[in-house]
C-alpha cells in the first residue's frame, strides 16, 4: 500500500508516495533516478548500496524506504558541491581507488561515514570501517590509500 514518505535526500526535503514494501535502494534508484547507489549482492553482504542516514552508513538494499521516514539520507550524488568533487571523491580519483567502479559509491559512503566520526583514522581503522564493503577487483590497497589521502 502506498503512503506519503517524507524525508531529506541530499539536503532536500521530499514528499513522495511510496509503497510499504519498497526498499530504500529501489526508491532511490527507480523513483528518484539516483542510480549512483549500486545494487550489488542484493542481500546485505557486499556494501555496494551503502548510503548515509543521519551521518551513519546504512545498507539501502536491506532497508525499507519508510524505515528512514523523517531522516537525512545522503547518496554519492550528494557529495560533490557546486560541480566540484568532494575531497574523498578526488582522492579516490587521484589514488586510483576505483577500478571497475561498481563498489566505489558504497566504499566512498562508508569511508565518508568514518571520516565524519573520526577525521584522522589509521590504516587499520579504515580497513575496519570498510570491512563490510567488497571490491571484486580486489583493489583494497588503493582504496585504503585513497581514504588516507583524503585525510592528509
Amino acid at each position: 500500500m502506498k503512503s506519503i514518505l517524507s524525508l531529506w535526500v541530499n539536503g532536500r526535503l521530499r514528499e513522495d508516495a511510496v509503497d510499504s514494501a519498497t526498499l530504500l535502494l529501489d526508491y532511490l534508484r527507480d523513483q528518484l533516478g539516483l542510480t549512483g547507489t549500486k545494487q550489488g549482492c542484493d542481500g546485505g553482504e557486499c556494501g555496494a548500496c551503502t548510503v548515509l542516514v543521519d551521518d551513519r552508513p546504512r545498507l539501502a538494499c536491506i532497508t525499507l524506504a519508510h524505515q528512514v521516514a523523517g531522516r537525512r539520507v545522503e547518496t554519492i550524488e550528494g557529495l560533490a558541491q557546486n560541480g566540484r568533487l568532494s575531497r574523498l571523491q578526488q582522492a579516490f580519483h587521484e589514488k586510483l581507488g576505483t577500478q571497475c567502479g561498481f563498489c566505489t559509491p558504497g566504499m566512498i559512503m562508508a569511508a565518508e561515514a568514518l571520516l565524519r566520526q573520526n577525521p584522522d583514522p589509521t590504516a587499520q581503522e579504515i580497513k575496519t570501517a570498510l570491512s563490510g564493503n567488497l571490491c571484486r577487483c580486489t583493489g583494497y590497497v588503493k582504496i585504503v590509500e585513497a581514504v588516507r589521502e583524503a585525510v592528509l
Partner: protein
Amino acid sequence: MNLLGDFNLLRPTSLDEAVKALSGEGAQPIAGGTDLLPNLRRGLSKPKLLVDLSALDHCSDIVALPDGTVRIGALVTLEALVDSPLIPEAVKQAALGVAGPTHRAQGTLGGNLCQDTRCVFYNQSDWWREGNGFCLKYQGDKCHVVAKSDRCYATYHGDIAPALMVLEARAEIVGPEGSRRILLAELFREKGDDHLTLSPGEILLAISLPAMKGWNAAYEKARVREAIEFPLAGVAVALKREKGRIAGLRVAITGANSAPLMVPVDELVGQEWGDAVAETLGKQVRKTANVLKSTITGAKYRRRMLLALARKLASQLWIKAA
C-alpha cells in the same frame, strides 16, 4: 529479484499498539531489518503486516540501575553496544564480531537475539529451494540435514546470546498477557523452525545484566573471513577464580544447535584449572553440541573448533584472573 510481496508497514509509538498489532495473523516485527529483510527478499516468509518497532520509547538506551544491574533496551544498536562503557567486554567482543560495521549501525540487540535460525537448505533463493522440494523449516515436509527427521535442524548463529547467557542475563518481555521476566536462555528452544519461546504478540523489550563481581568473561567465534560471516562455532565463557580454584564457571555455545545452549560445567567448580579440567570441559561441550551439516563448512571442523575455543577461552580467563 524482489520477493518482498505485499505487506503493510505500521510504526506504532506505544507498546500497547505494538503488542496489539503483533497479536494479529501474519504480523511480524521489524527493527533494524538486517536479518529479516534479506530473508523476506528470498521469499522465506510472507507477512501481511510488518510492525516497525523503532519508534517505541524506553528501549533504545542503556541504563545502569542502583543495584549495579545494567538494563539494555532491545532497540540499542550493536554499534551503540560496542561504544558503551557500561557493557561487559565479552558482550562487546560478541557484538563487534557480528557482520560488518554498517550492519552494526543498523542492527539492534533485540533483532540479533531473535534472529532466525539458518541452514544451507533454507537461506537460499526461492527457485533453489523449490528445486530441492523445499524443506521442513518452510514450505516443505522433509529435513535435508537429517533425513527422516520429524524436526527442523536449522542452526542458531547469533553471536551475542551466548555472551549474555554466561553473564546470567534476563530478558524482559511484554505481551497481551502483561510482562514477564525470564532467563535469556529460556527465550530459546531447540527447534529449528520455532526456536523462540515468544507467543504471538510478545515483544522482547530489554535485557538486564546483573553485576557479577569477580567474574571475567570472553567470547570468540570461528568463521571463514574476519567480517560479515555468522559464527561456524561460537563460545562464551565466564570464569571466577578464587584462591587458586575455579569458584564459578559458565560456558555457552552458538552456531551448533537450533538454540544457543549453556554447557553443564558445575562439576568443574572447586577444581584447579589444568589438563584434566580442560579435558572434562571439552567432553561436556561435545555432549551438549549437536553440530550437523547445516553449513557449507564441514561439521567436523565446527565441532573441533567448539572444543578448542572453549578450552582456549577458559585457560585465558584463568590466567587473566591470577
